[in-house]
């Protein structure tokens, strides 16, 4: 059994059939996702936003963990591809009645679903489903524990590419709780694969991973040092539960040291862009003047999120289809030979 998630998500020909992680994917494939998303942006600006690509397909949003933005952008992406979409609030339904995850999934598969969009609090959940549970359903990882959030990372890459022309050669700083962030992890892999000059992580020692070098980034403990010469600043949301675990003294203290203010932004390159995956905590990790300022591209990220999700969904569905065709063709050959 193949347990490397980067391989599980590819067909024998190297096409995408699930989207689980940005780790281990080639530069060509990541670029293809961005190029396809670029084309979908142009369809989003039309009066009729739908294209008929996934007509007749059924997509199920399986959110075991709450999310409004990610779930709704996946829903819009599916609808704009003309797929039918089912939203399941798992937290309040079957599993709370004692049904196991696997039974829930097998039931949904029996309803002829073509794609599951999965968010789960456990790292590796999407990978497990893709490999062990329903391999013939395309699985899109919408965030699993601390592990990965690949569509968020790719929409961030698209944002950088559209606003800074390319990712190659850019200095990118990710600020905040890197240790617990699946977004940061997926971003770091994608940035390095796409040729960023330097990926920096900035935060207090308690919220930075120990193995930054191995991850492919450079650790900074002070904004004054880390923001110097940056082209892109990505702020992460501070999760309040971290405060209860005594990893941080207080919100006020965090804002003083790591909150992005106009003063701190001035340390970066004058044409630097400011990004945030949302939802933003104004006055905790970012000040309103910056969040709403000229250099902020936070709302553009949301628009690009739909296009990126449309790209990944259509590519994965296409990969699944090709694999099925190959199996079918192989079966026919066997019959002819027999």
């Amino acid at each position: 059994m193949n347990t490397d998630p980067s391989q599980v998500q590819l067909t024998a020909n190297g096409r995408l059939k699930h989207f689980l992680t940005t780790e281990g994917l080639s530069r060509e494939l990541l670029t293809e996702i961005l190029d396809t998303a670029d084309s979908f942006i142009s369809t989003q600006e039309r009066a009729v936003k739908k294209v008929p690509l996934l007509r007749g397909k059924t997509v199920v949003n399986l959110f075991f963990e709450n999310s409004t933005r990610t779930r709704s952008t996946f829903e819009l992406a599916a609808k704009r591809l003309s797929a039918d979409i089912l939203n399941l609030d798992i937290a309040r339904s079957a599993t709370s009645k004692g049904e196991t995850l696997m039974d829930t999934l097998w039931n949904l598969e029996a309803m002829y679903s073509d794609m599951f969009v999965v968010r789960h609090a456990d790292s590796g959940a999407a990978h497990f489903i893709a490999e062990q549970v329903t391999p013939n359903v395309a699985i899109i990882n919408a965030g699993d524990g601390r592990h990965a959030h690949p569509t968020q990372a790719m929409l961030d890459m698209l944002t950088i590419r559209r606003h800074k022309a390319s990712i190659e050669g850019k200095v990118v700083a990710i600020v905040g709780d890197i240790l617990h962030s699946r977004v940061a992890r997926s971003q770091i892999y994608a940035l390095n694969t796409l040729g960023a000059a330097e990926v920096r992580v900035i935060g207090p020692g308690t919220l930075l991973p120990k193995d930054t070098e191995a991850l492919g980034c450079k650790a900074f403990y002070r904004m004054e040092d880390g923001l110097k010469d940056c082209d892109v600043i990505i702020m992460l949301r501070l999760q309040k539960e971290r405060m209860q675990n005594a990893l941080l003294p207080s919100e006020g203290e965090f804002f003083k040291l790591y909150g992005l203010t106009e003063q701190k932004l001035a340390i970066a390159r004058p044409d630097a862009i400011v990004m945030h995956p949302g939802p933003i905590n104004r006055g905790v990790e970012i000040e309103s003047a910056v969040a709403d300022g000229m250099q902020s591209v936070i709302l553009n990220q949301v628009s690009y999120g739909i296009a990126v999700r449309m790209a990944v969904m259509s590519m994965a569905m296409s990969g699944q289809q090709q694999e099925k065709n190959e199996l079918l063709a192989a079966g026919q050959n066997d019959q002819e030979e027999a």
Partner: protein
């Protein structure tokens, strides 16, 4: 078989299109080429017609009817059309018309951009083998190919035709 001189065919097609538009009292046509070859041909026709608009391009990848068979084309380029095609007279240009499926997809896509006043279909080559009731209004040349034979247009400067 001998293949036609493609630049020559294109020039003649431009002349005939000018006459056709004149006869139909279309004064401000919008040239829309289907990627990739159709855009090259549309560029040549534009040199002749000198319409006020740039040549638009249509990438029909998101509208193909064989997605479930062949999947997504890996090099989707996107379409480039003006903000509105509402009430415009469109000249839809392709390099080779065969089954008619590409044209069907292209017309479906055009209607998602708006409601054109008319669509005139122009094809540099027609190789027959139609599977849908779609016929070009103007064709540069009609080729009778052997079974299974196809033509391939390379370009854009110069455009050349080869048998495949």
């Amino acid at each position: 078989m001998t293949l036609p001189d493609i630049e020559q065919t294109c020039t003649e097609l431009g002349d005939r299109l000018a006459t056709y538009l004149n006869d139909h009292q279309i004064t401000q046509p919008l040239l829309v080429g289907i990627r990739t070859g159709g855009v090259w041909v549309a560029d040549r026709l534009q040199q002749k017609l000198q319409t006020g608009d740039d040549v638009s391009s249509l990438d029909i990848s998101f509208y193909r009817d064989d997605f479930t068979r062949h999947g997504l084309h890996p090099q989707v380029k996107g379409s480039e059309l003006p903000d509105s095609i509402e009430d415009r007279h469109i000249v839809l240009v392709d390099d080779v018309v065969m089954s008619g499926r590409t044209i069907r997809a292209a017309m479906n896509e055009l209607f998602d951009y708006g409601r054109p006043a008319s669509i005139t279909l122009v094809s540099l080559l027609d190789i027959g083998r139609r599977e849908l009731p779609i016929q070009p209004d103007l064709t540069g040349a009609r080729l009778e190919l052997d079974n299974g034979q196809l033509v391939k247009l390379s370009g854009p400067n110069p455009m050349t035709l080869t048998l495949a």
